[in-house]
């Protein structure tokens, strides 16, 4: 794949719990090119977040990467030592988390949280770091940065906290940013502002971004390509435009049918059932118990990720037979 920044091949991340092995990510493959934004879509528990944590190698215990390869800028991430990884996290790859109210340390001021990283990675002096911290706050559109620097996280609104979390992730100008549902906990109006900001920053700083979300609206708005995940596996991956107009996987179709639209009055279709138990996932295609096109064959065979057209891959045995409608 030409100029891929991040390449994930057959990634398997399992959690070894007392109840059994939870296959949070089970054979995920995707890539992120330089300066593009890709979307990682799926329901809660489909392995989106764990995929991102795997790339940064910060999976909480008892999770472990058991198979697959992750390449970043052509080097093998999984072969790196913990020290080398720490050099990567921050200056190269960074992450913005879902809940801004808990992703900032409550006992430190905004200034301290931002300058700590700069002093650690960039070896800036305290003064230089706080100047840069002020600049970063301006960058993420915070009014009156001087006073905000002295504030503690609880004194700020959710939107502002998320802006600070973004500023912190961007402080060392990473080439790749994982955004894990960055707007899920924000008001709708603030959501739009934060997304707009992220889009602008991504363009201005020329970085790549992995947008993790379950909101198809965000995908349409922000991303160039998209990877649909379900139960830890990749179901479909293609360009964002294609996914809306000609989905090839029944799960994608079902996701699209569950999105409300302003221009059509219709009853939203719900995907029947729940996301499967990841300790004992269904045999064959993991989606077959909830798929309206499922046949006997889907129960027995794990569908491979097949190339169905230029840059379009689908993991469905019956993709040629079923005709699906987009939006």
């Amino acid at each position: 794949m030409e100029n891929s920044l991040l390449e994930v091949q057959g990634l398997k991340t399992y959690f070894f719990t007392e109840a059994g092995v939870v296959k949070a990510v089970d054979d995920a493959t995707f890539d992120v090119r330089s300066k593009e934004t890709i979307g990682l879509v799926g329901e809660s528990g489909s392995g989106k977040t764990v995929t991102a944590l795997s790339a940064l190698r910060i999976i909480p215990r008892p999770g472990r990467i058991v198979a697959g390869s992750i390449k970043f800028e052509g080097t093998d991430v999984l072969a790196k030592s913990e020290d080398e990884m720490r050099q990567l996290r921050g200056p190269k790859m960074a992450m913005v988390f879902q809940d801004p109210s808990s992703s900032l340390n409550p006992v430190y001021t905004v200034e301290r949280q931002l300058s700590d990283i700069l002093m650690l990675h960039r070896k800036l002096t305290k003064k230089e770091a706080s100047q840069r911290a002020e600049y970063l706050l301006e960058l993420v559109g915070i009014q009156d940065p001087e006073t905000r620097l002295k504030a503690y996280p609880h004194e700020l609104s959710g939107g502002m906290k998320q802006r600070i979390a973004i500023a912190r992730a961007l402080s060392c100008e990473p080439t790749l940013l994982f955004a894990d549902e960055p707007t899920t906990n924000l008001d709708v109006t603030v959501q739009a502002q934060v997304l707009e900001l992220m889009k602008k920053l991504q363009r201005d700083l020329g970085m790549s971004m992995v947008m993790i979300t379950h909101d198809m609206g965000i995908i349409a708005d922000m991303t160039e390509r998209v990877t649909i995940m379900y139960a830890g596996r990749v179901m479909e991956a293609t360009e964002t435009k294609t996914i809306f107009h000609e989905p090839r996987h029944p799960y994608t179709e079902a996701l699209l049918a569950a999105v409300p639209r302003v221009d059509q009055r219709r009853i939203l279709e719900v995907i029947p059932g729940n996301i499967p138990n990841l300790i004992e996932p269904p045999s064959g295609c993991v989606f077959h118990p909830r798929c309206k096109y499922a046949r006997r064959i889907c129960m027995d065979n794990v569908p491979p990720l097949e190339e169905t057209g230029r840059g379009h891959t689908v993991a469905c045995i019956r993709w040629k037979e079923v005709s699906l409608k987009g939006v």
Binding site: G90, Q98, S102, L120
Partner: protein, 267 residues
């Protein structure tokens, strides 16, 4: 804070500000034994000729020593064991917790009285206070352990720990820069309250006559005064007041600290 500061000052300066040395029967010979409070003897004199004012001052030093030293001991053991219990998992963690629980249910006061009797040789060798500190410390750490463990478990799961890792912080950095500061403030607050608690326990031990009769403590004074409280009320009253104010002071300080250490209430 002010009250505690005052007591600490008195405790530290006691050898210089007390008009008479500890356990000195000097007033017996001047014919002032058993005298009520006066300018000469602000808190009165015991029938045995001991100046109560001096004794209360010497007692301040000893009681503060017991309270602070025992608390330091509980914090050291409690934080170490708590951090261990919060960080490790599996069988070892269960064992650590089990041991902690055993210490939590032991009726410390009874054991202390028992130990004070068993080791009475030490008590008479002048090591009574050290013995009490050791016993209080060795039986009092489990509550700190529980607190620390619970806080670590809570803080460890918060997203900012993971986001610190995502930005390249090392394990040590996370432990000491992110987890410990978030755990420390409740420990400081509880420890302040523990000082008051330990002082009270010491008073009880001495009052019951299990302490060292040759070391000035408030409890010992109250004990001595107790036998003739109808005729010489001042012997028990003044050390009693000292206990009340000292404990009150530490409790107020605990409240104050819990406010001061809470970033939400910081200006």
């Amino acid at each position: 804070m002010l009250i505690v500061g005052f007591f600490i000052f008195v405790g530290l300066a006691s050898p210089w500000i007390a008009p008479y040395p500890a356990r000195s029967y000097a007033s017996l010979y001047s014919g002032e034994a058993g005298a009520p409070p006066s300018w000469q003897h602000p808190f009165g004199v015991e029938p045995s000729g001991i100046d109560v004012f001096s004794e209360v001052i010497h007692g301040t030093r000893n009681d503060l020593y017991v309270g602070v030293a025992a608390t330091v001991l509980t914090v050291v053991i409690g934080v170490a064991v708590g951090a261990l219990a919060g960080y490790i998992k599996g069988v070892l963690a269960d064992i650590v917790l089990g041991v902690t629980q055993v210490f939590l249910v032991i009726p410390a006061l009874l054991l202390i009285l028992l130990f004070a009797r068993i080791f009475s040789a030490l008590v008479f060798a002048g090591l009574g206070l050290t013995l009490i500190v050791l016993i209080l410390g060795l039986f009092g750490w489990s509550s700190v352990t529980y607190l620390v463990r619970g806080e670590i478990l809570r803080v460890k799961e918060l997203e900012f720990i993971q986001s610190a890792r995502a930005l390249g912080a090392s394990t040590w950095r996370i432990m000491f820069r992110h987890i410990v500061p978030n755990v420390l403030s409740p420990v400081i607050v509880v420890s302040t309250l523990n000082i008051a608690g330990f002082i009270l326990t010491e008073v009880v031990i001495s009052f019951l006559g299990f302490g060292d009769p040759n070391t000035s403590t408030w409890g010992l004074l109250i004990n001595e005064g107790f036998t003739y409280v109808r005729s010489h009320w001042w012997v028990s009253l003044f050390p009693g007041l000292a206990v009340v104010f000292c404990v009150l002071g530490f409790n107020l300080m605990g409240d104050g600290l819990s406010d001061a250490l809470n970033p939400r209430l910081r200006e």
